[in-house]
């Protein structure tokens, strides 16, 4: 307890606003502030890590702002939070870059990464399958198709219209997955799920390719967006998507108990008074919302929904809400880390974050498959 109190106190001095929010959050979840089970501490650590990464993200860039300048800008913010006056000796470009490029980008990374991580965790829980994730199962491709279609047919602007297009696309993709997976009561074999995902992915990508080919003018811009990247994001785009992400997180956390009951099987869940089908439906909507908001921000990114819940499961075993929060936190941390790396290795150009995630995620999938973690999930059928 004493070490935790020490941690609390030091956090209070440095991240007072953040810690207060966290306490309130804990109360919303129904945890008392004295409930210091291990996963809460781990979660705290993860959020701390996120904080460090946020600071790092604000310090690193593909441009030519020196480290000292960035540090002094941040220090000036921290010391006088109320009045944001850049110190006179700093060039104006520093504050401009910080506020209009790095900050929206950081925020977008947190939102998108967290949403994808959370969506992946939810999908894995619903389908009881450790390799389900929005990217592999084609939801991201559906959302991307929604965005491109919105642009081509409705001349959508970035921000809210993107969000609508992405949402519709993600819902459509999710509908198909849900329909294909809920035909039997038993857990769906991982293979069949992935293959449904490949089909949805291919349809989405094929239609997107078709739209891009017929509209040559759009192809040039979306050549890079399709790979998944955080470049060129503006604050109002992020703010347009923020409410949807928050709604998604809140609803997901509200559904924690029914979700935990789902793990026991439909019969037991019904016996406990829950309604598994309605839960699944509601959660599917949440997944579509989260995935759609992530894609509307950054373009389709695969494998994050696989990586984050996988790591979260290693840290949190017993608590569903802990798992969900951890997945969110780890997802945002991962995306932040990848983005920082992408900005650092190829100055003054940037490496798209989607490609780097594949480089990490694909070996993870292979490892997952080879390890025995998937064995209990497979019903042993020879056919798909």
């Amino acid at each position: 307890m004493s070490t935790e109190k020490a941690v609390d106190r030091s956090l209070m001095t440095q991240r007072s606003a953040f810690w207060r929010c966290f306490l309130v959050f804990k109360q919303l979840l129904g945890l008392s502030s004295r409930d210091h089970s291990s996963w809460v501490n781990l979660l705290l650590l993860v959020f701390l890590m996120n904080g460090v990464l946020i600071v790092a993200s604000m310090l690193v860039g593909a441009g030519y702002i020196s480290l000292q300048d960035s540090l002094s800008y941040l220090r000036s913010l921290a010391i006088a939070p109320a009045s944001i006056q850049p110190a006179e000796q700093l060039p104006a470009t520093v504050s401009v870059v910080m506020e209009t490029i790095r900050w929206p980008r950081t925020l977008a990374a947190i939102l998108a990464g967290g949403s994808l991580g959370l969506a992946g965790a939810l999908m894995q829980r619903i389908t009881r399958n450790p390799i389900a994730e929005p990217g592999l199962l084609g939801i991201n491709a559906g959302a991307a198709l929604g965005v491109v279609a919105a642009i081509v047919f409705f001349a959508a602007e970035a921000g809210f219209p993107y969000m609508v297009g992405a949402l519709i696309g993600a819902l459509a993709g999710n509908m198909v997955i849900v329909f294909a997976s809920h035909r039997v009561q038993a857990p769906i074999s991982p293979l069949r799920l992935v293959l449904v995902g490949i089909a949805v992915n291919a349809t989405g990508q094929g239609l997107t390719a078709m739209l891009l080919l017929t509209k040559q003018t759009v192809f040039d811009q979306f050549r890079f967006w399709i790979l998944g990247s955080l470049a060129g994001i503006e604050l109002d785009r992020v703010l347009a998507v923020l409410p949807f992400t928050i709604i998604g997180i809140v609803v997901a956390l509200l559904l924690v108990r029914p979700l935990a009951a789902l793990q026991l099987g439909d019969a037991s869940a019904t016996a406990l008074g829950h309604q598994p089908n309605r839960t699944r439906l509601a959660l599917s909507l949440v997944i579509a919302l989260l995935a759609g908001s992530a894609v509307a921000l950054t373009g389709p990114i695969a494998f994050l929904g696989l990586l984050a819940p996988f790591l979260a499961r290693m840290l949190v075993r017993e608590s569903t809400q802990g798992l969900l929060l951890m997945a969110f936190g780890l997802g945002s941390a991962l995306l932040l880390a990848m983005d920082i790396l992408g900005r650092w290795i190829m100055q003054p150009f940037e490496m798209p974050v989607g490609s780097m995630l594949v480089a990490v995620g694909a070996p993870l999938l292979i490892w997952l498959v080879r390890s025995k973690r998937l064995q209990p999930m497979v019903p042993g059928g020879r056919r798909s």
Binding site: V200, G206, L213, Q216, R370, R382, R383
Partner: protein, 369 residues
Amino acid sequence: MSRSHSVATKDTGRAGRQRLKSTNIKKIDCVCLHFAQWTVSFSKRAFYLHLLLWLLLLVASLFTLMQGSVAISFGDFWLLCQGAGQSAHQLLVWDIRWPRLLAGVLTGVALAAAGTLLQQITQNRLSSPEVLGVNEGATFLLLLGLLLSPLNILGPWWLAPLGAVLVGIILAFLAGGIGGRGYQILLVGVALAYFTRALNDLVISRATAQHASAVHSWTLGNLANSDYTELMPASLLLMLCLVSAFGVAWHLRLFMFTEPHVQSLGVNARQVQFMALALALVMAGLGVGIGGPISFVAIAAPILISRWLPPHVLGLGNSCLLGGILVIVADTLGRIVLAPNEIPVGVVTSLLGGPFLLWVLLQEKEVKR
């Protein structure tokens, strides 16, 4: 399935039918052809399907040769076949569309054969070269050839089978073996496909903007500018592979049983698997080398064929024919719909193939024999 069991002759004439009825044999499913003292029985469905597919191929070929941005009427076409006709039409049909038709048929045949073999090896109806990342691997080596060549053109066609085989080796290594009840190899294949596709995207983004659109179009599967010089050696290799594939096909059908069963029937499972896999990889690579990574032909053709054939018939020949038909029909549609702009054949097949695959998946029960 011993020799003595398989035969059921269908003699014409009332006496024959009487005999059949009296002995209460089930409905005959063979077609028998008599040659002197020999009677060869074919599975009836396979036989008729084969004939039908040849007919369809002929029709599709005529469709391809006559349609395009410029449509040639049947009368003109008949003149062309006789050697007469306008020189512009002669040029169009024989020098431009005919090589394209051949390239399309060869690609379709190669990919469908590869898909059939892979499905039999992994005993999974939905495995195929593109799912396993083989197509991506073949594309990767070709794109490497693009980067390294001074003229900035795609590498020569033989890089593609090489790439396919390399990916196959990596796949076998990562999945810990090929055979068995293979969901594992498929999932590893999916991961490998993603990885290689990311590599390909990286290579394309390195290509200067002048190339990017053309290379991107090729990576979707494009049959434009097909020419005889590449087709000759590639098709010879393909023919050789097909011959070997037919040799191995019969044994592959046994893989629906478990491995001890197969061994007890006197077939060396490992050897057959290895042969079939090697052939599948090389043929997939050849398909990619000739026409680019065209998606969904390799999945769709074997599945469609197996729906119409009895389970003990592999239908390799039929799958190849259907693959060829699919590719050339998709190619011609791509040329007609948005003339004068051409839609690459891969885009058309993936547009049609994605929903098709979904339909197949949704129709199937969880475990199906």
